[in-house]
Amino acid sequence: MGFEVSAGARTAIIVTFALYSVILLGIGVYTKKMMDKTALDKYVEEFYTGGRGMGSLVIALMIAAGLCSAGTFLGGPGLGYSIGMAWVLVALAQNFMNFCVLGQIGKKVGIVARRINAQSYIDLFVYRYNHNKIIGAFGVIAIVVFLGSYVVAQFVGGARLFETMTGLPYWLGLTIFAAVVLLYAAFGGIKGVSTAIVFQGIVMTAAVFALFIGALAYIGPLEPAIKSIAAIKPALINPWTWTPKYQLSMWVVFGLVFIGLPHGAMGALTYKDTKAMHKAIILGVIFVVLWTFMLIWMGSMVRAVYPNLPVPDHAIPALAMTVLPPWLAGITLAGVAGAIQSTVGAMIIVISSTFVKDAYQAYINPKADNLTLKKVTTASTVIICIAIFLLALKPPHALEWIIAFAIGGLASAFFWPLLLGLYWMKANEYGAAAGMVGGIVTYILAAGKFLPITMGMHAIVVSLLVSGILTIGVSLVTPKTPKGIIMTWFGKAYPKEIPH
């Protein structure tokens, strides 16, 4: 492990973590009661998009904490530890994620989603692209496979950390993690998830500040500390560890393609009005800049404290155990748990909404009544949680690899079809289908090193290029999107209903 956890510290950590979990259970019970009071005909709408009435703090944290996961709290600092400052520089790319998501698609999605009553990210594709079966099916599969594996990886990371810091078994950590999320996501829907996210965001912020201040006080003057890291390996302090070309391609992965990530784009579907949206940008930017800067940089600074950690992902936990009193170290574990659970909660809502709206309602039972829909919504969310729990019990290896693969795969598929669908009238279902399939196939070929086509950059650059060219090229040589749809997505006047 490379660092020590004393028995007294373990007790303090367990107590803090238990307290954190109990508060979340309370949020789950409370939002379940609220959802039980919801009228049946509004249930699905309330469950997935909160009736589009969410305020600025909720939206800010839904995007920020939804996108900042184990990657920001464990894997990211771990790479800061093992690769050094070249990676810490990349992490800054995510600073303005709230600005990017809401500035790029927030208002347009806000208006269109109200016109077409979109409840899921994939809904946007299905409606814009003329209910094309390939796009619908492909979207559902991409969401389930990529987000599903991402969620599993998140749970595995959280449960491993729980095991390391408490000395309690892996399965117990996993069970607590999953049970808490199950309760507030499956019964509270987006309200449960978003209420939990506000609490988790506050805990995360407290943990980050405690850790940052504690670490700076412990490490002392920075210049000798950084020079001692440079003495271990100069590359740890040098941005040139990565070529500028590779560095820029990493900024594309972590800075330019947020709207291709369904769990990040949820904020655009749920906010109340543009005033709340603007505030959500400002709040979110402040949260993410602080988290990213403090955590990822501290990950690299851990080298000055522990020069040889066998598991780089333990950089932040090791730091917490060393520089903080036990109960504050417990808050750090709770902060990591919060980062993981907030992402997982948002993702489970995305997976569930995709399944219910774009698979069940679209293919299996288009005429489902409200009561059936309510039951299917709850049941599918519970089943998703349980399936993820079972997969995480036998964890797949290489946490960070799966995360990188999931983000790249989703972004390669969704980025251009969403962006062009929103802002380019000529984009049609043929182009979008070609772009989605082409993007994801190219990404797998490039990232899996089946074809040497990355040109010294992250695989996403070439897959985005292919996806963009296919979406545009195929759209140009195929018929226009039906007029009614273009009127709905671009026009002042639009058909209020799709004629049958």
């Binding site: 800054l92 950084i226 999107t481 002042k492």
Partner: protein
């Protein structure tokens, strides 16, 4: 709108009167991409210019290697730019059917 008109694929885009709100959305989208791309290029340029050369010869500012210090300054400056754009450039609009782009300052003068 009947089924035939709705699913018509032989029409001119000029027949559709574009909602002015969507024009505004497109403009804000372009501004957002522009700011993020500028932030990317400046950060990477600053880091790779000041961070060039042997690590032993790095200059330190406030205990930090000068390239990292400069990158932090860039982040702080862009944080203010992003907040400024959100507050002053982005426009409020009603998202429902009757919505228009709100001209906040002009209405105050009028």
């Amino acid at each position: 709108m009947n089924k035939e008109e709705y699913y018509d694929r032989n029409y001119s885009f000029d027949e559709i009167e574009i909602d002015p709100r969507f024009k505004r959305c497109e403009k804000e989208m372009k501004i957002t991409f522009g700011v993020q791309i500028l932030f990317t290029l400046i950060s990477v340029f600053v880091a790779y210019t000041l961070g060039k050369g042997p690590v032993e010869e790095y200059k330190y500012i406030m205990g930090l290697p000068s390239w990292w210090f400069a990158v932090i300054v860039v982040t702080i400056v862009f944080t203010f730019i992003v907040i400024g754009i959100t507050k002053m450039v982005f426009k409020d609009m009603d998202l429902t059917d009757e919505g228009v782009v709100e001209e906040k300052k002009k209405t105050a003068e009028a």
